[in-house]
């Protein structure tokens, strides 16, 4: 899309991308546009405006080639709040089991008049691949171990909501960094907005050369807890433990689980995030998950407004560029 396609003189920075595939490469201004739009929706919602008409007449397709409950529900509800029609597709019981490729599935759904696709896939790069075959705008709802941009945005939104700004904060991402698309989106978004990011986990779950993404590496949660403003506890994905990344869940929790003792050694205003679904007693103990520092349910609430922001911004960009 050419820059000249958005001649509007509107003062705030504009969003003019046709797709949201990741937070890598987004500018601080672009990230802020999304966060501010989400904040507007949250205010409107608090004021009782629960149904808006930004996407009236638009059909959004939710294509989930990998199971998801929370993200899919959140996107579906976000589209409905904006008055869109939605088409849901999940991999189980679909034509994929009859041998159809995911590209053909997406093209068929597009042929039904869908102009915005929300895509979740177990293969990194699959949403990017789809953009080569579709005219519709694509929002990545999580691809393999690559990115999960709306989760990264809702984490950042939640932090900003509680701390006012991102720049200058120290944020720890704890756990399975190697397999985490949430970690990558958080790293790109947070570092672009000026936060210091520490990735913390067993050496087997820290991918090679990750320091080149501008993060610090730690293998000791105890060592970093006292100097961290935000601790984001990534899920240990049992299904990914194909080979021995650590000796046992018990040993993992001992070294990398967030518990009451560690919270006491943390800053008084530390924020505890978890993208979930959480394993109580593994990444964090129930007293921490339900404690004063936890903003886990705020994340879920904010996810809705972030997804509304992304859907509406992408739709407006398409309208401006005449692709609609």
């Amino acid at each position: 899309m050419s820059p000249s396609a958005s001649p509007s003189a509107a003062p705030p920075a504009l969003w003019n991308r046709p797709h949201l595939l990741g937070l890598q490469g987004l500018s601080a201004a672009e990230l802020t546009v999304i966060l501010d739009r989400a904040a507007d929706f949250k205010r409107l919602h608090a004021a009782g405006q629960t149904k808006l008409d930004h996407l009236k007449g638009v059909t959004v397709g939710n294509l989930f080639f990998e199971p998801s409950t929370r993200t899919k529900t959140s996107f579906s509800l976000a589209a409905k709040r904006l008055s869109a029609d939605t088409v849901d597709f999940t991999a189980s019981g679909s034509s994929l089991s009859k041998g159809e490729t995911f590209i053909d599935t997406a093209r068929n759904i597009e042929a039904m008049g869908v102009t915005q696709m929300v895509v979740r896939h177990s293969t990194s790069g699959a949403p990017y691949h789809l953009t080569k075959h579709l005219k519709a705008g694509v929002i990545n709802a999580g691809d393999g171990t690559h990115e999960h941009p709306t989760q990264g945005l809702l984490d950042i939104f939640t932090i900003r909501e509680h701390r006012g700004q991102i720049a200058g904060l120290t944020v720890a991402l704890v756990g399975d960094i190697l397999h985490s698309r949430v970690a990558r989106s958080n790293i790109w978004g947070l570092t672009t907005l000026g936060a210091k990011v520490i990735v913390c986990g067993p050496a087997t779950l820290i991918p090679p050369e990750i320091e080149r993404l501008g993060v610090e590496i730690s293998h000791s949660l105890d060592a970093i807890v006292p100097r961290t403003d935000v601790i984001n506890l990534l899920r240990i994905q049992a299904e990914r433990q194909r080979s021995a990344f650590f000796p046992s869940i018990y040993e993992y929790a001992h070294f990398f689980g967030m518990n009451g003792n560690r919270v006491q050694r943390a800053r008084k205003d530390v924020l505890i995030l978890a993208p979930g679904p959480i394993n109580r007693g593994v990444e964090l103990t129930p007293d921490v998950a339900d404690g004063d520092h936890s903003v886990i349910l705020d994340q879920v609430t904010n996810g809705l407004f972030i997804r509304m922001a992304c859907l509406s911004l992408l739709h407006e960009a398409r309208s401006v560029s005449g692709q609609h």
């Binding site: 890598q24 490729t101 995911f102 590209i103 896939h121 293969t123 990194s124 790069g125 699959a126 990017y128 691949h129 691809d143 393999g144 171990t145 690559h146 990115e147 698309r181 990558r184 991918p207 090679p208 050369e209 990750i210 080149r212 993404l213 194909r242």
Partner: protein, 428 residues
């Protein structure tokens, strides 16, 4: 029989360091004379401004016939080979059925005869059905024309099987070709392990996976006295190990592909299956080591490692698509671009990597050269002709290449096999 005069070209023959303008006369299918102003013949091929050299040899080509004719057939593979300047190719045995017995090898020879394009030599499997468990019929394969043994892209995980294969193959004076990678370190991998695999969230295959197997196989070659050839090496560590092994007199040879010289792991940012190759595209540092290896002679040959795949197999999720790209028709200009233009190899050196080098790997003494009396397998190249790669025009049945749209110099103008012009670019 008839005679052919290849007139006025720059005749290059690395086997005797020959590089001068002249004529080549072919009689009865063999090179009769090389010199100046050699007079007349029944047929004349004007090579003015062109390079005249022995036909290229590729020691491992995915021909896919029988069993995977949706990807390639012997007819299309050999047509692609001719267009790329190759007069001889050795066909990988990873077909269906696998070439692990005499009948299968004879089928390869028969199909090549039917196609009537370039010469095709079967490679026989090392183990039955490429399963890595029991030896294939190596002796009968050799007798049926197999010029070497390989389990194609399947690593031979058992050092014991590898040792026995090297010992047994010695009786027939055939090398074992290996694709060196430790399967436990590469399982599920899509690309080189490093910064880009981390950023892209794609499972990596570390350089160590290759270096471990290179080290093991060199040790086994030393133990057994067998000949080992490492296909498509891609790492600095592999080049260094081969260099040391050669200095110690161990019978090891190796080749590299053009794509491992031109592309890097950064290209995977396109999430394009046409960059998914095995071994994976590495970093600049590894690329430099491969080129240094070509320059100092550690790397004996360049192979396209031609791996055709029908489009329905490549246009899928990146972790599900097979490895490899087609390469026979783009090898020459890629080599010119990476090796000749920057001055790393002379034309004579480049041609040695495509003729005498592969011939030496296979133990061939009368191929890959322009000596008087040898079979007239000749390739004529226009070194300065610029052309744009258009995959739709490939003679190969498959189009899985990352080089579509690239404009490069160096074009094959004609190919002669046994004195007969089998390929010729017709000027429009």
């Amino acid at each position: 029989m008839s005679s052919l005069l290849i007139r006025g070209g720059r005749v290059i023959d690395p086997s005797r360091e020959l590089d001068r303008v002249g004529d080549v006369i072919v009689r009865d299918g063999r090179i009769a004379e090389i010199g100046s102003n050699l007079g007349q013949a029944d047929e004349i091929l004007d090579a003015t401004g062109c390079i005249v050299c022995a036909g290229f040899i590729d020691t491992h080509v995915g021909v896919r016939d029988p069993g995977f004719e949706e990807d390639e057939t012997t007819a299309t593979a050999t047509a692609a080979a001719l267009a790329g300047g190759f007069t001889r190719i050795a066909a990988l045995p990873d077909t269906l059925p696998v070439v692990d017995n005499a009948a299968a090898a004879e089928y390869v020879v028969l199909q090549a005869k039917r196609a009537g394009n370039c010469r095709v030599y079967p490679l026989g499997a090392v183990t039955r059905n490429h399963a890595g468990e029991e030896l294939a019929d190596l002796g009968q394969l050799a007798r049926s024309g197999a010029v070497a043994f390989t389990d194609s892209n399947f690593p031979i995980a058992s050092a014991e099987i590898m040792r026995r294969a090297l010992e047994y193959a010695r009786m027939f004076d055939r090398p074992i070709f290996v694709h060196p990678q430790d399967p436990t370190l590469t399982a599920g991998g899509v690309m080189h392990e490093g910064y880009y695999s981390t950023a892209l969230g794609l499972r990596g295959m570390p350089a160590a996976a290759e270096e471990i197997m290179v080290s093991r196989d060199i040790a086994l070659a030393e133990l057994t006295g067998g000949r080992i050839h490492l296909m498509s090496i891609s790492t600095q560590g592999a080049v260094e190990q081969v260099r040391r092994a050669k200095q110690r007199g161990i019978k090891v040879t190796c080749d590299v592909t053009p794509h491992h010289l031109v592309l890097t792991d950064a290209d995977m940012q396109k999430y394009d299956a046409n960059y998914k190759v095995r071994p994976p595209l590495r970093t600049e540092e590894h690329v430099r080591a491969l080129i240094d290896g070509l320059v100092d002679g550690t790397v004996d040959a360049i192979s396209a490692d031609h791996q055709p795949w029908a489009s329905e197999k490549k246009d899928r999720e990146l972790d599900q698509v097979p490895f490899g790209i087609v390469g026979l028709e783009t090898l020459l200009p890629l080599c010119v671009k990476t090796l000749v233009e920057p001055g790393r190899l002379s034309w004579l050196q480049l041609i040695s990597k495509l003729t005498t080098g592969p011939a030496r790997i296979l133990g061939w003494t009368e191929a890959g050269m322009l000596a008087t009396g040898v079979s007239a397998d000749v390739t004529v190249i226009d070194p300065t002709a610029s052309w744009t790669v258009d995959p739709a025009k490939f003679r190969s049945k498959s189009r899985n290449t990352p080089f579509g749209g690239w404009t490069m110099q160096g074009q094959v103008k004609a190919v002669v096999i046994g004195g007969e012009i089998r390929f010729r670019v017709t000027e429009v």
